[in-house]
Structure formats: C-alpha cells, structure tokens
C-alpha cells in the first residue's frame, strides 16, 4: 500500500491554494477496523490527506527543492464523521511561507457541508549534509504525476505550472518515464 491519502488534485494555484478530493470506499481495509460495524474515516487520516494537499502546495512554492515536513498541528476541529460513500474535498490555503517553512489553513467538505477545519505548520528541513531517507524519490515522482498536480495546476496568472527542474532531475535519476508508470 502506498501512503497516499488523496485521490487527485482538482485545483492547484501555485503559492496560494490547492484542492484535492478523497473518495471513501468500504473496500478500504482500515475502515473495517475503525470501527467494526460502524466504519468511519479516522480523523488522523483526514489530517494526513490535508497535510499531503498542503504539503505539496508548500513544496511546489520552492520548486520541490526543499524538504518539507509536517511539523505541527495547531488546531483540528471535526464537525461530523466521514463515512464510506462520502467524497471529501480538501482545501489548503497558504497563510504564510518563508525559507523556514509555511503555515497552511485547511478545510474538509462533504458536498457543501464543512466537515473539518485544520491548521498545519510545515517546516523546511535544514540541509545539514546528513543523508535522510524520509523521501523515496521514485514514489514521490509517481505520486505527483498520478495526483495530477501538473494537469490542473496554474500560477496566479492562470498559466500552467511547469514541472520544476528538480522534479525532472529526480525523474531522470530514478529512470521514470513520462507516463509515471
């Protein structure tokens, strides 16, 4: 299983905001344990999906040249449980960003209903020369392609987001092709 908790991006405005969707299916194994007879999406995994939405937004702002980690969750409020059959729409908006990290406000909606409100702080990992295995480049390249960041992405001027040089380099290093397969 890959640790991907969003299905695709539907909006991606560079440096500002992104929207992604997550469909909940009873075929997802974790829902059978959480809870037996009463499946609901764990709130922690909703936060993870929001963090992936916001984290890629933050990462793209610096052309994926910085290592972005979720460092803090100042606030998380859930208004009702998300259950199989729901489509969650995750929205992430960059409130502040600089060389050290970024602060992002996020919401989760089911249709028009506000399901969750979450604040996240991301930190840019200092590059201190030590090898770090937090990121698996191959999966990262595939994930960005599969999630359609560059299909729906645009800058404030509406022009498509070009794939950053760092990503192309990463793809070349791992021998991935353009289809992401």
């Amino acid at each position: 299983m890959r640790w991907i908790w969003i299905d695709k991006f539907v909006e991606f405005e560079s440096g500002r905001r992104a929207r992604a969707v997550k469909n909940l299916s009873l075929a997802e194994e974790h829902l059978h344990d959480h809870f037996p007879g009463a499946p609901m999406m764990p709130n922690s995994l909703i936060i993870e999906g929001l963090a992936q939405t916001g984290g890629l937004l933050v990462g793209e702002r610096y052309a994926f040249e910085k290592k972005v980690i979720l460092a803090k969750i100042p606030k998380a409020t859930f208004h009702f449980p998300a259950i199989p059959g729901d489509t969650l729409t995750y929205t992430a908006v960059i409130e502040d960003i600089n060389d050290d990290g970024g602060r992002v406000t996020c919401t989760s909606h089911v249709g028009d209903r506000l399901q969750a409100e979450v604040e996240l702080v991301f930190a840019h990992l200092a590059d201190d020369g030590r090898p770090r295995k937090l990121f698996e480049p191959k999966n990262f390249v595939f994930t960005l392609k599969l999630l359609g960041v560059f299909d729906v992405g645009g800058g404030p001027d509406g022009k498509p987001i070009p794939e950053p040089p760092g990503l192309a380099r990463l793809r070349a290093n791992v021998g991935a092709n353009d289809t992401g397969l």
């Binding site: 803090k72 100042p74 606030k75 409130e95 602060r103 702080v121």
Partner: protein, 130 residues
C-alpha cells in the same frame, strides 16, 4: 496605554493560537518555554502570527538569535563567553538579560524570553517601521 494594551492583546492572541494556552496564562512575566510550553517549532508558528498581526517582517535569528547560541566562537563549555553575551545583548536590546548574564549557561537561555520581551520586541519593530 491603550495602544500598549492593543499590542499586548494581539500578542496574547498569537500565543493562545500558537501554543493552545488559556488567555489568563499569558501574563507579561510568563516565560515562553517554561511557563507556556513553547517548543522550537512553535517559534516559527509564533513568528508567522506576529508578522501577520502587525504587518511586520521578522528576519530569521532576530527574535531568537540561535546562531549566537550555537556558535563555537561565542560558546565555550556550554556557556556564553563575555563577547558572546555582549553580542547577544546587542542583538536583543528588547530582552532583559541581566539575570541570565550572571551565569550564561546556553541551555538556560530558552527560559529567559518572556511575553514582556516579546512585547518590547514588537514595539521596537513597529517604531522602526513607523
């Protein structure tokens, strides 16, 4: 006085939101780390909130001069040298470092910064941008 109260209230809001503490815990004398439980990542969060609340820019190392505290030039055997202390005072004119200066053990430094220091820091920033 009213302006000061407004400034304090904005800082208190930033600290309540960033640290999840109650409003009445945020007193001028409260230390950020010891009393309010701030950890290193919280300082980034606090900086973001202060920048937004006061429309100021806080360069890295200005509010918390980590570079001095980790410098091999200024730190010897876990203590700031007199030169390091002088540099710290120069960089942090808003903070009351007299007590810390008596025994400048670096690991005790984080417990020096109070809410009042932060108020003075923001006041000094606003004075220079006004």
């Amino acid at each position: 006085m009213a302006a000061n109260a407004d400034l304090f209230n904005k800082i208190r809001t930033a600290l309540v939101d960033a640290l999840g503490v109650d409003e009445d815990e945020v007193t001028p004398e409260a230390t950020l780390v010891g009393d309010l439980g701030a950890e290193s990542i919280d300082f980034l969060d606090i900086v973001f909130r202060l920048e937004k609340a006061f429309d100021i820019k806080i360069p890295r190392g200005e509010l918390f001069p980590e570079d001095i505290l980790t410098s091999t030039q200024y730190v010897q055997q876990g203590k700031l040298t007199p030169e390091g202390l002088a540099e710290l005072k120069k960089r942090m004119p808003f903070a009351d470092l007299d007590e810390f200066g008596k025994d400048p053990v670096v690991k005790n430094f984080v417990n020096q910064l109070t809410v009042q220091d932060m108020v003075r820091y923001v006041e000094s920033k606003l004075a220079t941008t006004a």
